[in-house]
Amino acid sequence: MITGSSYSRWIFMALIAGVILLLVLPKILAPYYLGLAVKMMIFALFAMSLDLLIGFTGMASLGHAAYFGLSAYATGLLALKLGWNVWLALPAGLIMSGLAAVLFGLLALRTRGSYFLMITLALSQLMWGIAFGWRSLTGGDDGLPNVPRPDLGIGLSMADGVNFYYFVLLIAAIAAVLMVRIVASPFGYALRGIRESETRMLALGYNVWLYKFSIFVMAALFAGLAGVLYVYYNRFVSPDYIHVARSAEVLLMVILGGAGTLIGPAFGAAIIVLFENLISAYTERWVMLMGFIYLIVALFAPNGIAGLIRDYRDKRASS
């Protein structure tokens, strides 16, 4: 039997091993797979940001791609058309996501449950419609190609895959630590309280709306950060960034990994990115295959991998 303290020691050691692995990865992987690892990190960040809403606060958003895509467009356009460097274009992207979240949060937070889900979906699809329709600015369906890699102004070329990997790793790591700090803070515990019972938190004197609004905007900022990294990674942005299919994809990552654990959705993201990469290389019918993944997760792992591990542990402990 594993005791609580030895269990947390295992986790700590796994964490150290994970950090070391991430640091030496460029020495191990071929450039193509290093690029894939970058994509995994970006989506891990994106999935963790949605977990703040779904897993910790119980707010089921199906429009999270709006913030991912809006910042990607803002950063992409500013870098492409005005030649802004990363120090200006990245904050501008975040501001774009943040402003959208303030506006959409004011609307969506008037509701909860299924209405919230529909409204977040509708708002993000409207943004998709604008990205799709406003051809003169966004290039419409064709998107915006040739977005430059970030220019740090310190002589490090981001065209180099290894440099770019460390750039993304640094930013994703900072964001991950911030998110862990958020959920471990009294603020984070209040969010869990809201997830369990809004009325009880109201009775305890918490300003529930303000908590929900704050985390909604924060989650959008982290999603926006992922979007900025992704546009620099792909050097391209298109309406697909905002489409509900992307919102659903990140939802799948969160549920597959296990909502409310942060680390789970990060793994969920890595698995889905890897899987999509594999199946899209072998078959044109990868959309359908992904559809079946949704069904399988919904039916057999609704609490994700984290849930399966928990069940297994409980069974071991009771037998």
């Binding site: 969506a108 329709g133 406003w134 509900v244 939802l251 909502a259 069904l295």
Partner: protein, 284 residues
């Protein structure tokens, strides 16, 4: 003047199609608390199935029957074997119905390719008619009348029949309805089938004017959601009024601001949310 009348009629006829879609979405949610994201697929597959039947037999009436029946079968299988296991589990339901949206959209792409198709109009309504100096396609007028008839029928079912009373009981309190001996499980299947039927009907009827094309499933799903956000989930009246509002706004939006068409439905949706978060006729 002429322009306004024509565009208004276009908007109303599109609104009627949205009503068909949204009423099913709304009914299903009202009773089962399922937000069926695959509803857009029912519309799309209904349209394609109708297309096949019209091409093979030339009969639009037959197309309506075969296409809706096919989609009802799909819907019943989905409900009986899969959705049922996830009763009241919002996240898994969302993933499941989204999975179907993906699968059906790819299936449609596989079978019918990526070119937009148009279902031929029924012979009887293939011409335009002249009323009070206006020339207008008779098919669109037919859709408006047809939509009204469906609305009245649904109303009668809901308020005037035994089944309707059972559904209302199930909506109000599922547990008590069960304890009164109402077969709620059968009602679930019936209502899901009815919703699938209405969406497929929208797909076939809309085929001649809106066309069937890849992506139509996502497009109508969004519009259907906006309709129920404006009209209120679980309300027939809301689906009808909301459908007409969105149909008109979408139509005029596309005419006046083609690049920002969706914005014309965004503004009123935001307004309704600010004033009445559960929609015009939704319940708290």
């Amino acid at each position: 003047m002429n322009f306004w009348v024509l565009q208004t009629l276009n908007g109303i006829s599109f609104g009627m199609l949205l009503f068909l879609l949204a009423s099913g979405l709304s009914l299903i949610y009202g009773l089962m608390k399922i937000l069926n994201l695959a509803h857009g697929s029912f519309y799309l597959l209904g349209g394609y199935a109708g297309l096949v039947v019209v091409q093979k037999t030339g009969s639009f009436v037959l197309a309506v029957f075969v296409a809706t029946l096919a989609i009802v079968v799909i819907g019943v299988l989905m409900e009986r074997f899969l959705l049922r296991r996830l009763h009241l589990q919002e996240m898994p339901q969302t993933l499941l119905t989204f999975g179907f949206l993906f699968i059906f959209s790819d299936l449609a792409m596989l079978i019918w390719g990526s070119n937009p198709e148009t279902v031929p109009k029924p012979e009887m309504f293939s011409q335009s008619v002249q009323i009070a100096g206006f020339i207008y396609p008779s098919y669109r007028l037919f859709i408006i009348g047809f939509g009204l008839v469906v609305a009245l029928l649904l109303w009668w079912i809901q308020d005037g029949t035994r089944i309707g009373a059972m559904i209302r009981a199930g909506v109000d309190n599922e547990e008590i309805a069960r304890s009164l001996g109402i077969n709620v499980s059968l009602l679930f299947t019936l209502v899901f089938a009815l919703g699938a039927f209405l969406a497929a009907l929208g797909g076939v009827m809309g085929g001649p004017i809106m066309g069937v094309f890849p992506g139509a499933d996502f497009e109508v799903l969004l519009l259907g959601f906006v309709v129920v956000i404006i009209g209120g989930l679980g309300s027939l009246k809301g689906a009808l009024i909301g459908g007409l509002i969105v149909g008109l706004l979408d139509n005029f939006g596309k005419v006046f601001f083609p690049e920002f068409a969706l914005f014309t439905i965004f503004a009123p949706m935001a307004l309704i949310l600010a004033v009445r978060p559960t929609g015009l006729f939704g319940r708290e």
